[in-house]
Symmetry: C2
Subunit: 110 residues, 2 copies
């Protein structure tokens, strides 16, 4: 039985997270909910993808974190974009545009 297709296009998760944080600082769980919501449920981020991605991004210095309290009074780690993250976001956005545009060109979806 063929399994369901991936929930994401590989390589775009970082971009999605950075963009979401550019609009507003939030905690990891909230980020994934926000993305799901904004995409009308099309993009679903698994926890097993989310947290490693956040760790990666923080290691790269693109986001930084701080523990705080969520709306529901739970402990949550709040992330926000750094200056380097903003730069990275611009680059990845540009790369996404270039690549997705090229694909659409091949598909004839001009």
């Amino acid at each position: 039985m063929p399994k369901a297709k991936a929930d994401l296009l590989q390589g775009t998760l970082d971009l999605l997270i950075l963009k979401t944080l550019a609009l507003e600082s939030m905690h990891g769980w909230g980020i994934s909910q926000r993305i799901n919501q904004v995409s009308d449920g099309v993009l679903n981020i698994n926890q097993g993808s989310l947290y490693p991605a956040l760790y990666r991004l923080e290691q790269q210095g693109w986001i930084e974190s701080e523990w705080g309290s969520s709306d529901n009074n739970r402990q949550a780690k709040y992330y926000k974009l750094t200056r380097a993250g903003r730069k990275q976001l611009a680059e990845e956005t540009e790369a996404w545009g270039r690549l997705s545009g090229a694909i659409n060109q091949v598909l004839g979806t001009t």
Copy 2:
């Protein structure tokens, strides 16, 4: 030294190959050249990605192959889309549209 970014969005190679073969049967080497050309050099398919992908697609029954002679009188394996491949192409095209659209929605590139 940061290495160059990926040449492709992972998961889209099959789609690109299927689409290219939908327009015209061709050999592997030619497929990669065609995609490079149509995308204005943006999409570059490594041989180490191409041939495994072709093998994969043939195993799935989406393309079939036949040995022939290329324009330059070299032995070349010509691939063409099967009926199942056409169906797969339609599905993957739809998935691509859905996912890339969702990403653009998150990016605000309405």
